[in-house]
Amino acid sequence: MIGRRRRLAVDLPAAADLIGTLAKYLGLAALLPIAVALWYGEPFWPFLVAGAIVSGLGVVLERITPSGAAVHVGVREGFLVVSLTWLLAAAFAALPYLFAGGDQLGRPVDAYFEGMSGFTTTGATVVTDYDDLSRSIAMWRQFTQWLGGMGIIVLAVAVLPRLRVGGRQLLESELPGPEIAQLSERIRSTARRLWVLYAALTLAETLLLAALGWLGIDDRMTPYEALAHAFTTLPTGGFSTQARSVEAFSAAAQWVILLFVAVSGANFVLTYRALFRRRPGVLVRDEEFRVYIALIIVASFALVVQLWSYGIATGEEAVRTGVFQAVTIMTSTGYATADFATWPFLSLLTLFALMFVGGSAGSTSGGIKVVRHLLLGKVLRRELDQTVSPEIVVPVRLNGSPVDERTLRAIAAFILLYVGFWALGAAAIAIESAIGDVDIGALDALAISASAVGNVGPSFGITGPMGSYQPLGDVSKLTMVVLMWVGRLEIIPVAVLLTRNYWRV
């Protein structure tokens, strides 16, 4: 009898081999919290064990697959590698919480939630008592966001000498935005330059914040806090070591953080050209950047006016609070300098709308991204034109150059999938909260889902910036885990895994 085995279209050994290599090196990330633990005299074994498990798993994966199988990673395998690597990274982040997280992080679902929220730079947390977190655990939370911001595979391509991933598609799955602009002829030096810029900006922010502490302008801004917050600013993450988020710091520190949040929401490729090649004009000439800045101004203005007229804040405080919240939510960072969960409905709606905007392509931010909104708007206008004149030919342009029709279709598909995931997620959260009697309103459920898929972090109600996702049920938390995961990878790489065509020849 002849066996009727179906041929698989995906080269699983190749994917496993590459994931193994990535995991092997990813485990090394535990060195930083180990150092912090040693410095503060805290137990370092949770990180050591976590790192050993992940690296060990990587070595095992490499061993059981034929050596050199990773060179067969093509477009198909790339989707699988990216998707699984990020699931694995979240598990890695979760291990120390599992071992040493105590009551608030020790449950597996909570630990995985926090881990996924970290690597995806979401910033949603189940932590309720920040004073109970050890210094090393707190720094680990921040550090996972920093690693996830520019992308772990981008980092691997940049620094690992022997990681020869041929295609750029692997990176495109990880870098936010519809397509990446090259900084160099070679993928590897593009990745390297992006990480250099990312690290340089992180260093700059750390030094600026630390200087505020040294100069006595902000007593609470110790070097530890400066590094911890720089780690979560540049990736537009939003985790904080403080229960009151950035509200805990002085106005000066808030302005500094605000500046770096705004930079992180802009295209790093443009920032690189503006800073390192001394061509600041590239920013002003870029269509997306101009819309990005325009949206920040409009959103900030709306919030400042609301805060002032509702009497929530006046003067410099109103301006700072309004601009900060507008920028931090729009760029999917999720820091807060005020408990916006207590703001009036109109302000909540403003923030809710901003969750769907996102930063620029090529930034570390989440959400739909400004360029997709821009191009969708142009496509819609063309549709209207073609309704009147069916024969008219209108190429959609970005920065004067025509955009490929396939890219436009992909953007439309992305936005539809994005909205679909958001709606399903909101339904799941709303249903479980209703059954489990969790205090979540209709807008809250919608905002939680939007916040998770957009990698923003906080939402409204009890899950506001000063609150926690701890009270939610496990189904809601796992729903959010999925939303954060697909949101960070911009949906398509995960969504294709759900198609029959992907697996079958």
Binding site: S389, I392, V393, V394, P395, R397, G400, P402
Partner: protein, 441 residues
């Protein structure tokens, strides 16, 4: 002058036709049939050979010529031939024909080692933009850096009685202009003060660009300055026309049947409106109000299609139609069918190239009415017997001085003015008389 022409196609033979009287001409082509067609009609030397072969060029005797014209229909052949000509005959002036604007740009910045580059598409586009600039004009050309314009008009019923139906002496003609010729049926009249322009005549006016526009307004009172032009066909000719018109701030709509080509031209020309449609779909013409355009240019590849589409556009109400006639014979057919102006790209190209072959004192030439008339731009010698005489006293021997350029400024002379040595003279003349006129000046 010894002239070496590479390419005996339509452009080549037009050049030969215009120049064979006064010059020694050698023609090289790969096809014997085209060569013998030329040899049978004109007294020229023909050589069968390849313009891209240095050996063939040398064998044909390119070495001691004064002017090399590479005018085959293939850019690459012309470029290579121009390159070899430069090597073989370093003193000769080289002129090459191209259909690619990129080569024109390269030549302008000195990256192409030839003396002149003539682009059929660009010449055609310029011819059309000049016509569109003057309402009711059939054909126009400019001289003296654009200060002097020659325009051929059809006089129709409804033209202003300021100039039509009255003796020219009493006509209220625009300042700075002169009627150079009245063409009635097949007779041509170099008019005097008592001659009268009538409906159905075709006239040639020489004057300032402003006067040319005023003449247009007098002869076609309804026609306004064109702001909305529809171009049918977005090939090289259509695309170049669109580019030139857009550059002058004229609104352009383009109709192109090929989806791919329509997309390309839409991407290249952001300010044009592009439609992917055939020009012969009445629903489309109606829906997009093509009939409301002030002018339409038909630049599709097929003359027959251009003719039909132009007729259809006229039915839909387009007041002014310009047809691109790729074949010379189509010009007559277009005119017979009522297309207002026909432009033959190869004819325009030949005309541009012929300018290089004239007496060095002659800066520019235009051909009118087929090749029956020429407009010359000649600098007067101090030995000319007309220097110092009044324009009034000059004899009319089938020639008329339309304008002079003195110290770089165009002057439209009156009867009392004197001709001076060194004046550049814009003369309208019968082609057969052209050498005599040049000689006299």
């Amino acid at each position: 002058m010894r002239i070496f022409v590479i390419g005996a196609g339509q452009v080549g033979s037009t050049i030969v036709e215009a120049l064979h009287h006064d010059h020694t001409i050698m023609v090289l082509d790969t096809e014997l049939s085209r060569l013998s067609a030329i040899a049978n009609r004109y007294d020229v030397a023909t050589f069968e050979g390849d313009g891209t072969s240095q050996h063939d060029l040398a064998a044909a005797g390119i070495k001691d010529v004064d002017l090399v014209i590479a005018c085959t229909s293939r850019d690459e052949v012309n470029l290579v031939a121009g390159m070899f000509a430069r090597r073989e005959a370093p003193r000769a002036t080289t002129v090459i024909r191209t259909s690619n604007l990129e080569y024109v740009d390269l030549w302008r910045v000195g990256q192409l080692d030839v003396d002149f580059v003539v682009c059929s598409e660009l010449e055609t586009a310029h011819a059309i933009s000049r016509i569109i600039g003057v309402p009711a004009a059939r054909q126009t050309d400019v001289f003296a850096e654009g200060q002097v314009q020659i325009v051929e008009f059809d006089v129709e019923e409804g033209a202003s009685s300021d100039v039509v139906g009255v003796p020219l002496r009493e006509a209220k003609a625009p300042r700075d202009s002169k009627v150079a010729a009245i063409i009635r049926e097949s007779d041509t009249l170099l008019p005097g003060g008592e001659d009268v322009i009538g409906p159905g005549d075709r006239i040639v006016v020489i004057g300032s660009p402003q006067a040319a526009k005023e003449w247009g307004a007098l002869l076609a009172p309804g026609a306004a300055t064109v702001q909305d032009v529809v171009i049918f066909g977005a090939g090289r000719v259509g695309g170049t026309i669109a580019r030139v018109l857009l550059g002058q701030g004229i609104g352009v709509r383009i109709v192109e049947a090929s989806k791919e080509r329509a997309l390309q031209v839409a991407e290249a020309l952001p300010s044009a409106r592009v439609y992917n449609a055939t020009g012969i779909d009445p629903d489309f013409l109606e829906r997009e109000r093509i009939g409301q355009a002030q002018a339409a240019v038909f630049a599709m590849r097929d003359d027959a299609k251009n003719l039909y589409a132009a007729s259809l556009a006229e039915v839909h109400g387009v007041p002014f139609t310009i047809g691109i006639a790729h074949e010379e014979v189509s010009v007559a057919a277009f005119e017979h069918a009522g297309i207002d102006v026909s432009v033959n790209p190869r004819g325009v190209t030949a005309e541009e190239i012929i300018r290089f072959a004239h007496d060095p004192r002659t800066q520019q030439v235009a051909l009118l009415e087929g090749n029956r008339y020429e407009v010359l731009d000649v600098t007067t010698r101090d030995t000319s017997r007309y220097v110092g005489s009044k324009f009034r006293d000059m004899p009319i021997h089938g020639a008329l001085i339309g304008a002079i350029v003195r110290n770089g400024t165009a002057i439209f002379p009156h009867g009392e003015d004197l001709l001076q040595s060194g004046d550049r003279v814009i003369v309208f003349t019968e082609a057969a008389d052209a050498p005599r006129v040049v000689e006299a000046l």
